[in-house]
Amino acid sequence: MRREFLAIALLLALLEPASAQASETELKPFGRGSWQELMKAHSGRPTIVHFWGVTCGPCKVELPQLGAFMKDHPGIDMVTISADFVPDLPAATRAMLERSGLAPAENWIFDGFADRLRFEIDPTWQGDIPRTLLITREGEMTTIEGSAEIADLEQWTVRQLAARK
């Protein structure tokens, strides 16, 4: 009996790191107050916040472009927030972020009453995704509705990095 128990323990020990590794990408639950927390954490740093969702067609096209953009521009904080109306698919969310090269970004997923979470971010936002916010060091915010043009992000980034000098 003890041997049996030991075997289970051994198996658990063997399997646990593997399963942890499979879902390495951290996905922070985005709840009430998370927006203020996020704004505070990135205050004084040029930041791109990208809202998306696993069922959104245009998001599937844009996400890998953002992954490549992040790799090329380490001076910009990249934050993604899965803002689907039904935020119940963390596995699919992780898989899509990983495939798009966005695993190293700061990744969040809506957790709770989506209308209220959106209202905290922007009371006029009805939930259309993708949506990208460009936030300067001074906190000035530009909202891009729909898929962002990478050229626009490049131009904005050049201005942000130049402003630092």
Partner: protein, 405 residues
């Protein structure tokens, strides 16, 4: 050693079992439903319709199933639910998705709904029907042979007992992409059933390159012609609304623009329109836009069969993100319901018009909830009008909205 191997298998089975349970929990984590079972109180989406004999029928999605129940006392009590889909399905949970239910004069029930058929969230529209008064449903079948993504179906019986079905369909994407071009959105497809929803005709296309993620509005004009309002993609990626009046269930008419809102957006608005056609033939449309020309909820009407529309009028309190409009041409006039959100509570607002939408009563609140809720719907039994509204924390609400409506 034998013992050890058995133990390993048992332990592995245990882990797999736990994994399954964990996946279920994660599925529910932050869910829009109150619980995970197939019962009504666990539903995320509920659709209501009155049969001609005054029986109220509900179709809902909960626990991965579509279930149906009826009420003889206007929603006070319901018959035991019947699972129209016995197995657990990956039902389309998109914000504008919902099961559709339609009933003809003979009491035949047609259902339609979408599932996600793969990990890429490609959809498939399925239909099922009951010819024994909702006691049982035939196995659900695809509405079209195409295997490309379909979602956002709408169905209704016309006056002849024929079912008209329309949906958004991505079958044109592959050939366009293979030709090296970019495919925008989806296409509006349609079919009809002459046998009460037991089988459907071959699918036909009404228009290509519509928006791909918003519900359709479907109604019949007084000549029994189907009319569909939808979010189109106009020149330059502008996702404004259009209406198509069909010559008959097999022949689409020309698309006509409802309004020039100029909402150029490469995104999923997840926010479709509503259409009601009054007995006098006037089309009433309400919709959401965030265009350059206007932002918010709007209403317009057409007195020439959808050829031209009145100037859009704004609906609701712009500070409270009015959303999810629903129009009904009821026995006492036109009724409109929508949601507003004040940062804490969602309220269903309602107003009525006795002069075909030229003037409206002051909006009044008829229900509220403090967590996730379905879109508000309006239904009538021909005498009274009711709000049908599923909420996560307050359950299913079926509320008579007053005789003046």
């Amino acid at each position: 050693m034998q013992m050890f191997r058995t133990t390993l298998i048992a332990a592995a089975a245990l882990l797999v079992g736990q994994g399954g349970a964990l996946a279920q929990m994660q599925h529910q984590h932050g869910s829009e439903a109150a619980c995970d079972g197939p019962e009504l109180r666990c539903a995320s989406k509920v659709t209501a319709v009155f049969a001609s004999d005054g029986t109220l029928w509900l179709a809902w999605m909960a626990g991965g199933k579509i279930s149906v129940a009826s009420s003889r006392d206007a929603g006070k009590s319901f018959s035991p639910p019947v699972a129209a889909t016995p197995e657990r399905l990956n039902l389309d949970w998109g914000p504008d998705a919902r099961p559709k239910i339609a009933i003809d004069r003979k009491g035949r029930i047609a259902l339609a709904f979408s599932i996600f058929k793969d990990k890429a969230f490609n959809g498939q529209v399925l239909f099922a029907r009951s010819d024994d008064g909702g006691k049982s449903f035939a196995a659900a079948r695809p509405i079209t042979d195409s295997y490309e993504s379909q979602r956002f179906e709408a169905i209704a019986f016309d006056n002849n007992g024929e079912v008209f079905a329309a949906w958004l369909d991505k079958r044109n994407r592959v050939p366009v992409q293979q030709a090296g071009s970019k495919y925008e959105g989806a296409a509006l497809f349609f079919a009809s059933s002459k046998d009460g929803g037991a089988s459907y005709s071959d699918a036909r296309m009404a228009i290509d390159n519509t928006c791909e993620c918003c519900r359709l509005g479907l109604a019949f004009d007084p000549q029994n012609r189907p009319v569909v309002v939808f979010r189109n993609i106009f020149e330059g990626g502008v996702r404004d609304h259009a209406v198509i009046t069909f010559a008959d269930p097999a022949t689409a008419g020309e698309p006509r623009r409802v309004s020039i809102d100029d909402w150029q957006i490469a995104a999923c608005p997840h926010h479709g329109p509503s259409l009601a056609i009054a007995a006098n033939g006037i089309y009433h449309v309400s919709w959401f836009t965030n265009g350059k020309a206007r932002k918010g909820l709007f209403y317009a009407s057409s007195r020439d069969g959808g050829k031209s529309f009145s100037a859009p009028s704004a609906i609701g309190d712009p500070k409270r993100s009015p959303s999810r409009p629903y129009l009904l041409a009821g026995p006492h006039g036109l009724v409109m319901a929508w949601k507003e959100f004040d940062g804490e509570k969602t309220t269903v607002k309602l107003m009525t018009s006795a002069d075909d939408g030229q003037s409206w009563t002051e909006p009044r609140a008829i229900a509220e909830t403090s967590d996730t809720s379905d879109h508000p719907l309006l239904v009538t039994d021909g005498r009274r009008t009711y709000l049908s509204w599923m909420t996560k924390v307050d359950g299913y609400r079926f509320i008579p909205i007053g005789d003046q409506s």
